[in-house]
C-alpha cells in the first residue's frame, strides 16, 4: 500500500475523486495541506480574499455545473467565515464540501489559538459533518463527504481535519475507498408506483392544471423530462426563483416566475388551477403567500426527493417521494401515449383564460427620458448577451428585476441565493461560474449595497484573469429595504441610504479592471456594447438608476397567491 502523509492523502483523495478546483485560504491549521497542494497540478487552488468568498465561489461553481464545489480553509476564523456561504448552499440544496483545519487533537477543547468547534458551529446548516480523528480515516471521510453532498437532496458537508493528523512528517498507508455505502443513508429516488398511478390519473383528468417547477428539477438534471411532460400535456409552466431555466423561460407555455414577485399570469393560474404538479419545489413562504388561502381549488401532486419537504407548509393530496428525473420518467411511462391534440382541446378554455391574464402585460414599465430604469438595464444585458449568459445575482431589487426580465432558456444559467437571501453572494458566485466555464460570459447583476459586501474579491478576479461583467444597479440606497419602507413604514428611510458611496469606476481601476459609469438612458446601449466587447477584462458597470422604482408585481401580505399590487397604484 502506498505510504503518504495525512496532508498528501487529502490532496490525493481529492484527485482520485476527480476534484479539479478548490477555493480557499491558508492558515496555521492547514499549512500541511497547503504544502501538499504546492507540488502538484491535479487540483487547482484558487486563493480568495475572504473565506466567505471561497464558499460562494464553490457554490457558484456547483450551481453552474452540478459538480460538488470544494472549499479549503483554516481553523477558527477561517472556518467561521465560511458559515454564511455554507448556510447559503444549505438553503438552496447545493452540493459543497468544506475542508476545515482544526487545532491538533490534543488541544481540542482547550480554547487553543484559532480553535472553534466547527462541527458544532456549522451543525444547523450542513447536511452532515465529520471530525476526522485518524490519518488513515481521511480518504473514507472525504469520499463519504462528496457522496453525501451530491446524492439525495444535495447539500454542504464539513470535514474538520485536526492539524496533527495531516502532519507532513508522518506517513500512513493510503487506500482510496472505491465504494462508499452507508447503512443509515439511502435516499429514495424512484417514486412509489401507487402514487405514480394516482398522480397520472389526477393530471390526465385535470381541466385547469399547472406545472410548478423548482430547483429540484435542476438538481436532478431533469429539464428535458420536465419539458416533455409539459409539452405532451400542454401544461402552463410556472417556476420558482430557484427553478428558473429548468423549463425554458422563452417557451410559449412558460408563465414566468411565481410568488411574491411572480407574474400576474403565474399567480392567477396557480390560484385558479384545479391541479398543481409541483416538481422539486417546496411551497416556500415567498411562493405561497398566506397558506390558509393557498390555491383553494387544486389537487396538489408534490414530487420531492426530501420527504420532509412534503406537507411541511401546505398539505398535499398526492405526495411522491423521489428525484424529479426518475419520477418524471415514471409519470411519462404511466401516462403512455397522450393525444396531445385532444389534450390541447381539453385545455383550450384554460389557456384562453391564461392569455387574458397575460394580456395585462404585468412586466410593462414606463421608460423615462432622464432616469435609467432598472428593468431596461436587465433587458439591455439580455440583448447584449443574446440571452445566453450565466447570470449570477446578489440580493435585493436587482435580483427580482433580473429574475423577471432575463428569461433563462437553459438550466444552471441563473445563479442566485434564493433561500437564504445572501447579499454579497453575486460576485464570488460569478467567479466560481467563470472558473468552471472559462470561455462563457459570466455576468453579475448587483446593487450598490450588495457589491460592497464582498468587493475584495475583485483582487482575486485579477489574479485568475476572470473577465466577469459586473452590472451594478446603483440607486444610492438599499432598494428593497427602501421599497418596503415606502410601502409599510411611511417612507421613513431608516438606514437604507448610503451617504458616502465610493467612486466605483476608480475602485474597479484600482483593482486593475475597467470601470464604466452610466448615468443617462441614451448612453446605456453603447456602454453595454463596450462592456461585452471586452472579452478578456473584468468590467464594472456602475449604472445610476431611478431611486424610486419599485419591483412589481408584488403579492399583498396575508392575501392569496393572486392578491397583488401591479404598480404603485394598481391592484388585482
Amino acid at each position: 500500500m502506498e505510504m503518504m502523509s495525512g496532508a498528501a492523502m487529502v490532496v490525493r483523495t481529492l484527485k482520485d475523486l476527480g476534484v479539479k478546483h478548490v477555493f480557499g485560504y491558508p492558515g496555521g491549521a492547514v499549512l500541511d495541506i497547503y504544502d501538499a497542494l504546492y507540488a502538484q497540478e491535479d487540483v487547482e487552488h484558487v486563493l480568495v480574499r475572504h473565506e466567505q468568498g471561497a464558499a460562494h465561489m464553490a457554490d457558484g461553481y456547483a450551481r453552474s455545473t452540478g459538480i460538488t464545489g470544494t472549499v479549503l480553509v483554516t481553523s477558527g476564523p477561517g472556518a467561521t467565515n465560511t458559515l454564511t456561504g455554507i448556510a447559503t448552499a444549505y438553503m438552496d440544496s447545493i452540493p459543497m464540501v468544506i475542508l476545515s483545519g482544526q487545532v491538533p487533537s490534543m488541544h481540542i477543547g482547550e480554547d487553543a489559538f484559532q480553535e472553534t468547534d466547527m462541527v458544532g458551529c456549522s451543525r444547523p446548516v450542513v447536511k452532515h459533518s465529520f471530525l476526522v480523528k485518524r490519518a488513515v480515516d481521511i480518504p473514507e471521510a472525504i469520499a463519504k463527504a462528496y457522496y453525501i453532498a451530491n446524492t439525495g437532496r444535495p447539500g454542504p458537508v464539513v470535514v474538520d481535519l485536526p492539524k496533527d493528523i495531516v502532519n507532513v512528517l508522518e506517513e500512513h498507508p493510503y487506500q482510496f475507498p472505491e465504494d462508499v455505502t452507508m447503512r443509515s443513508y439511502n435516499p429514495t429516488l424512484k417514486g412509489h408506483s401507487k402514487q405514480i398511478k394516482k398522480a397520472s390519473k389526477v393530471l390526465l383528468e385535470a381541466k385547469r392544471p399547472i406545472l410548478y417547477v423548482g430547483g429540484g428539477a435542476i438538481a436532478a438534471q431533469a429539464s428535458e423530462l420536465v419539458t416533455e411532460i409539459a409539452e405532451k400535456l400542454n401544461l402552463p409552466v410556472t417556476s420558482t426563483l430557484m427553478g428558473l431555466g429548468a423549463f425554458s423561460g422563452v417557451h410559449e407555455q412558460s408563465l414566468g416566475m411565481l410568488g411574491m414577485h411572480g407574474t400576474l399570469e403565474s399567480n392567477k393560474a396557480m390560484h385558479n388551477a384545479d391541479c398543481i404538479l409541483a416538481l422539486g419545489a417546496r411551497f416556500d413562504d415567498r411562493v405561497t403567500n398566506n397558506v390558509e388561502k393557498f390555491c383553494p381549488h387544486a389537487t396538489i401532486i408534490h414530487v420531492d426527493i426530501d420527504p420532509a419537504s412534503i406537507s411541511k407548509t401546505v398539505a398535499v393530496h398526492v405526495p411522491v417521494v423521489g428525484s424529479v428525473d426518475q419520477v418524471a420518467k415514471q409519470l411519462l411511462a404511466q401516462m403512455g401515449d397522450i393525444d396531445t391534440a385532444k389534450q390541447k382541446e381539453k385545455l383550450a378554455d384554460w389557456w384562453e383564460q391564461i392569455e387574458q391574464w397575460r394580456g395585462r402585460s404585468c412586466l410593462d414599465f414606463k421608460k423615462d427620458d432622464k432616469l435609467i430604469k432598472p428593468q431596461e438595464v436587465i433587458q439591455s444585458v439580455y440583448k447584449h448577451t443574446n440571452g445566453d449568459a450565466y447570470v449570477s445575482s446578489d440580493v435585493g431589487q436587482h435580483q427580482m428585476f433580473a429574475a423577471l426580465y432575463y428569461p433563462f432558456a437553459k438550466p444552471r444559467r441563473w445563479i442566485n441565493s434564493g433561500g437564504l437571501g445572501t447579499m454579497g453572494f453575486g460576485l464570488p458566485a460569478a467567479m466560481g461560474v467563470q472558473m468552471a466555464h472559462r470561455d462563457a460570459t459570466s455576468v453579475v447583476i448587483t446593487g450598490d449595497g450588495s457589491i460592497q459586501m464582498n468587493i475584495q474579491e475583485l483582487s482575486t478576479c485579477l489574479q485568475y484573469k476572470l473577465p466577469i461583467k459586473i452590472i451594478s444597479l446603483n440607486n444610492r440606497a438599499l432598494g428593497m429595504v427602501r421599497q418596503w419602507q415606502d410601502m409599510n413604514y411611511k417612507s421613513r428611510y431608516s438606514s437604507s441610504y448610503m451617504d458616502s458611496m465610493p467612486d466605483f469606476v476608480k475602485l474597479a481601476e484600482a483593482y486593475g479592471h475597467i470601470g464604466i459609469r452610466v448615468e443617462h438612458p441614451d448612453e446605456l446601449d453603447a456602454a453595454m456594447e463596450r462592456c461585452f466587447a471586452e472579452k478578456d477584462r473584468l468590467v464594472f458597470m456602475d449604472i445610476a438608476i431611478d431611486q424610486n422604482e419599485h419591483v412589481y408585481p408584488m403579492q399583498i401580505k396575508f392575501g392569496a397567491m393572486d392578491d397583488m399590487r401591479l404598480s404603485k397604484t394598481e391592484r388585482t
Partner: protein, 165 residues
C-alpha cells in the same frame, strides 16, 4: 398530545447533538430523552418524549429521519407499545412513623429501597410516568422529598414490530 419517538442511530460522536439540534432549531419541545447503546454497540437507541399534534409529529419524524446518522425512526404512540421510566427518589425518614408509612407505600407501588442512611431512604421505582408521579405525590404527603432523578421514558412496540437496522 404526548408522543414517544423511538430512534435507531449510529453510535457515532456528535450523533446525539444532531438530534437535539433538530428539536431546538425547529422549535419542537423535548419532555424527556433517554439514550444508550444497544446490544449492537455500533448502534444507539434513543427515546424522545414530546408534546405535538399530528402535523408537527410528522415533521419531527421526517426531520430526524433525514439526519445521516439515523437509521430508523418510529412514533411508538401510533401503535400498541410498552413504556417504562425509572426514578430514584431520596426521602427523609426521621421518625419510625414516617419509615413505616414509606415502607407501606414502597410495597404498594412495588418499589425497592436500595440505600438506607441514618436520616433517609433512597428508593427505586419503575413504571409508567403516571405511576412515578403518583408515587412521588404519595411520599410527599408523609415526608420530605430530598431529591429525585428520573431516566425519562424508554419504550418498545408490542409484538413482532421492531426497530432494527
Amino acid at each position: 398530545m404526548k408522543r414517544i419517538i423511538s430512534v435507531l442511530m449510529e453510535n457515532a460522536p456528535g450523533a446525539l447533538s444532531r438530534i437535539v439540534g433538530v428539536f431546538s432549531q425547529r422549535g419542537y419541545n423535548v419532555d424527556s430523552l433517554c439514550v444508550a447503546a444497544t446490544d449492537d454497540k455500533s448502534l444507539s437507541r434513543l427515546t424522545i418524549t414530546t408534546q405535538a399534534d399530528d402535523k408537527v409529529i410528522e415533521q419531527i419524524t421526517k426531520q430526524v429521519n433525514k439526519l445521516i446518522d439515523v437509521l430508523k425512526v418510529t412514533d411508538l404512540t401510533n401503535g400498541s407499545h410498552v413504556e417504562r421510566e425509572l426514578m430514584l427518589i431520596k426521602v427523609a425518614t426521621r421518625s419510625e412513623l414516617v419509615r413505616a408509612e414509606v415502607n407501606r407505600n414502597v410495597d404498594i407501588f412495588r418499589a425497592q429501597i436500595i440505600d438506607v442512611d441514618l436520616n433517609n431512604y433512597t428508593i427505586q421505582v419503575t413504571g409508567t410516568s403516571d405511576k412515578l408521579d403518583a408515587f412521588a405525590n404519595v411520599l410527599a404527603q408523609s415526608t420530605e422529598i430530598i431529591e429525585a432523578s428520573r431516566t425519562g421514558i424508554c419504550g418498545l412496540a408490542r409484538g413482532d414490530k421492531a426497530l432494527r437496522p
